[in-house]
Subunit: 287 residues, 2 copies
């Protein structure tokens, strides 16, 4: 792996470049992005040089697609004609079904391996990129078959995952999308819904709130420019996650409506708190 | 104000003692709490001495009730017989209606002023107490009438609020309880419901989640031992807050079910994200 081309030098693409460099990658890192981003990326020495997509694709052993989901899919429509035979194309898109399907149909001359590093922050752009973003975080890979992982170019790419501080998790594209509907897309919608509800109400204007509200609305700072594509490409699974969440909230609401100090309703809420705090503790132990 | 008795030397009571001392209070601070807590509070020099409730009440100019809500109400049933005439009783309970009503009926010989410092953390107990807990946070006061704030003992207590880094907000008990239903109790239930839902599911076991899920379930670490009393004493307002939140989530769910890339549903989600991120930004500017 001598030449890496990063398509979309934002938070994830930029952090991947910085992480590779920190882990000892001595080859060439080419950036493909908008003019504004390229300038910032060159200023910060995140990339070595910038080229148009076609030229970068023709030079790279590894093509790392880190744009929004639909942009990745558009890019996959064109790349096959431009790449070196035997190069590896991988991506960092937040949903995998559409991207893997598109690659299946369009990428013939190169190898493809879908990926999703489970790292992020609410700030975006190459300005927020950092070499340690993937440290301790899982890196999901969605091979179509075991052979996708066993090819020499894939093995070389996989070798870098622990070196950037991450660890691989192998899932199908469907398993990935169903899982993140609950573990990532639902928390985002829960926070956005809370903040959007309060935006229309008078209560918070009194400043009568604690640090909990600030924490609970942190994710709501995220932009729809990223999330729109995620919703478009994972509707059913997210719909199911939302439905389950609403059902849990309805359980709590019914318990609150019960007779004051009734043993049944108080016990239901207590069980909810116990389950929630067990989950939150395990998560912290595991992280 | 020479002698302060703190009833319930936990996170809030202990932090109030430490904050008073840091702000220059040179009088005596007596703790009334369980044996275990008293030992920890004396070890950490949070209080000067410990006494049984009756004796502490007989000595104090300021009685600061920082137990769980029902315990505060129980305490108010007894205190009137023990206090010095003209002492000030205040409290730090998380809901105000029950406590203010009880004080109205039971506190005759002393003055009463309900309060709620909007500070906290998920760790509990005097071990988590800190002098700066109230720094920059609002301190809600719920006088029954303006005269409650104008009495000399109340004015002396109010003088300490800015000195501990806090700022007062005056509300009726009802306004307070309706407001915190949206700004505090709803965020708690949103986090607990998310964590309780995921506790019963297989998705998070794969470790496929980002830092967002860890943040979103932080509040779920809170204990029902505190929250049970809050739900008991603010059911209607919390029920309304939950209902509004569920309606917002249902809006999002309906939008996701709409035709893929349909302009209507995508616009609805975008507006939700825009409103949420506007709210979250304002909150951060104000905090």
């Amino acid at each position: 792996m001598q030449t890496v081309a990063i398509f979309g030098v934002g938070l994830i693409g930029g952090s991947f470049a910085l992480a590779l460099r920190k882990a000892g990658f001595t080859g060439r890192i080419i950036g493909v992005s908008s003019d504004h981003t390229i300038r910032a990326a060159l200023d910060r020495q995140v990339i070595d040089e910038a080229l148009p997509a076609r030229e970068a694709a023709g030079l790279a052993d590894l093509l790392y697609l880190a744009q929004p989901i639909h942009k990745i899919a558009d890019c996959l429509e064109e790349l096959d004609a431009w790449v070196q035979p035997g190069a590896l194309i991988t991506d960092a898109g937040s949903t995998k079904k559409l991207i893997v399907q598109t690659a299946n149909q369009k990428i013939i001359r190169a190898r493809f391996l879908g990926g999703h590093p489970m790292a992020g922050r609410e700030r975006r752009g190459v300005e927020a990129a950092e070499a340690d973003l993937f440290q301790g975080r899982p890196y999901v890979l969605t091979p179509r078959s075991p052979a996708d992982l066993d090819h020499p170019v894939a093995r070389e790419f996989l070798d870098w995952i622990p070196r950037i501080g991450s660890f691989p998790i192998i899932l199908s594209a469907e398993e990935h999308d169903q899982t993140v509907a609950f573990t990532s897309h639902l928390p985002q919608l829960a926070s956005t819904a809370l903040a959007a509800l309060l935006e229309g109400r008078s209560e918070p204007q009194s400043r009568v709130y604690g640090p909990a509200l600030v924490d609970s609305t942190r994710l709501a700072l995220s932009s729809f420019d990223i999330w729109g594509d995620i919703f478009d490409t994972n509707r059913d699974a997210i719909g199911l996650a939302l439905e389950s969440y609403i059902a849990k909230l309805e359980e709590f609401r019914a318990a609150l409506k019960g007779p004051v100090d009734g043993p049944g309703d108080r016990q239901l809420l207590r069980r909810g708190f116990d389950a929630g705090s067990r989950f939150a503790s395990h998560l912290r132990d595991a992280t």
